[in-house]
């Protein structure tokens, strides 16, 4: 029996549908996670016109090309500093970085720890598929020990990064890890991350059947999701160091960190500017205030809230 044929999908308003189908392989989890992101946006009523997505290079880096919002597909490893720049210039806009583990933690590793340290008010979604997918399956900073890749044909001798743990200890405000199978909780988690003022980070373990699964006994996309189903243990607010992922062992997913809100990097930058800024003319003053109205409002709320505590 055939399902009902449709021309439109409920998320189409958030997608550049003229560019679909996307480039990702059959069974790749990136589309699933992108869907969770767009649903989360929709659920909390975040205005796509006031939202910017920045991606780096790699399979996940292509995400920015499919969302119907202002989007930037930048250079390898640099979406976070690009996003920091755009957010500092326009604190009234929501800025999300959507990129892969290689992009954000190998070549761009320095940037993510510093953006977390600064508590830049951006949301970072990382697809962790344990591999460099787009370039054909080379070793990633997340490839599990013993993992076979095209550049570790005898097995990986390195220890992988514990991404969520690393970000949690670097100074972020919100950190969570899910798998692409945990779609509902992922969606809720992204909602929280988007709403959180400050640096928020969601790591999503996601299957790459083509470049990783094929070489590591999980050829079918279903195999990897089943692996997630069997080994993922939901646990919240753990010691970030517990977040290591080891082959064939259970691993923790959940909310690693949900810190109390603190003034963000942009709050502090603009507060400093506001103190020093000598308005040169009434017109300029008005323009400046308009531009940062939303920002100033939230800022004053936070500051007065802090006073009450």
């Amino acid at each position: 029996m055939s399902v009902v044929q449709a021309n439109m999908h409920p998320l189409d308003n958030y997608l550049r549908t003229e560019r679909l189908p996307h480039v990702w392989c059959s069974g790749c989890g990136i589309g699933t996670v992108l869907g969770a992101y767009l649903r989360a946006m929709k659920n909390i009523g975040m205005d796509p016109e006031k939202t910017i997505m920045v991606s780096g290079i790699g399979c996940t880096g292509r995400a920015a090309g499919y969302v119907k919002m202002d989007s930037f597909h930048t250079t390898h490893g640099r979406p976070i500093p690009f996003a920091v720049g755009i957010k500092a210039a326009r604190p009234d806009l929501n800025v999300t970085v959507f990129s892969g583990d290689g992009d954000l933690f190998a070549i761009g590793g320095n940037h993510i720890i510093h953006a977390a340290r600064r508590n830049a008010d951006i949301t970072v979604i990382t697809i962790n598929n344990f591999i460099y997918g787009m370039t054909g399956g080379q070793l990633a900073p997340t490839t599990p020990e013993t993992g076979i890749t095209t550049t570790s044909p005898y097995g990986n001798v390195e220890s992988p990064f514990n991404l969520a743990g690393l970000v949690a200890v670097s100074g972020a405000s919100y950190v969570a890890r899910w798998t692409s199978l945990h779609v509902r909780r992922l969606e809720k988690s992204i909602e929280k991350a988007l709403k959180k003022r400050g640096f928020s980070f969601v790591e999503v373990l996601s299957p790459c059947p083509t470049a990783y699964g094929r070489r590591n006994r999980m050829r079918d996309p279903v195999d990897m999701l089943k692996y997630f189903q069997e080994h993922a243990v939901v646990k919240h607010h753990i010691n970030p160091l517990e977040g290591v992922i080891e082959p064939d062992k259970d691993f923790i997913v959940g909310e690693f960190l949900d810190a109390e809100e603190e003034p963000t990097f942009e709050d502090k930058l603009w507060e400093m500017t506001k103190k020093e800024f000598l308005y040169t003319s009434q017109a300029e003053r008005t323009a400046w205030i308009l531009e940062h109205r939303r920002h100033l409002e939230t800022l004053s709320k936070i500051i007065s809230g802090r006073g009450e505590r």
Binding site: M1, S2, V3, V4, Q5, A6, N7, M8, H9, P10, L11, D12, L15, L20, P21, H22, W24, C25, S26, G27, C28, G29, I30, G31, T32, G35, A36, R39, S180, L181, V183, R184, E187, D220, P221, V222, L225
Partner: protein, 92 residues
């Protein structure tokens, strides 16, 4: 499926009705990965023999009441990486 039949039984005894859903598909976006089929909690989907435009086998429905019916849970919609499949509540 033991638990499910128990739930079915409980539901039958109560006034509650199981929500029913209709499955929709933007067929040419499908890449035949099978995730919707595999993870549908009700098992209402199977991979069809048909090809879509890109040469993939899209899913199709096996409605076998009372157990194999779409309950509008939306999991297929969420797990689908292609923005291809979605469900809507069936109006009775």
């Amino acid at each position: 499926m033991a638990t499910e039949s128990r739930i079915e039984k409980l539901l039958k005894e109560s006034d509650a009705t199981i929500p029913r859903g209709t499955v929709y598909l933007v067929e040419d976006r499908c890449k035949g990965c099978g995730l919707c089929v595999e993870f549908c909690p009700k098992g209402v989907l199977v991979i069809s023999d048909r090809f879509n435009k890109k040469g993939y086998h899209p899913p199709e429905l096996v409605e076998e009441p009372p157990l194999k019916v779409c309950i509008n849970c939306g999991f297929c919609e969420r797990i689908c990486p292609e923005f291809a499949i979605f469900v809507k509540k069936k109006e009775e």
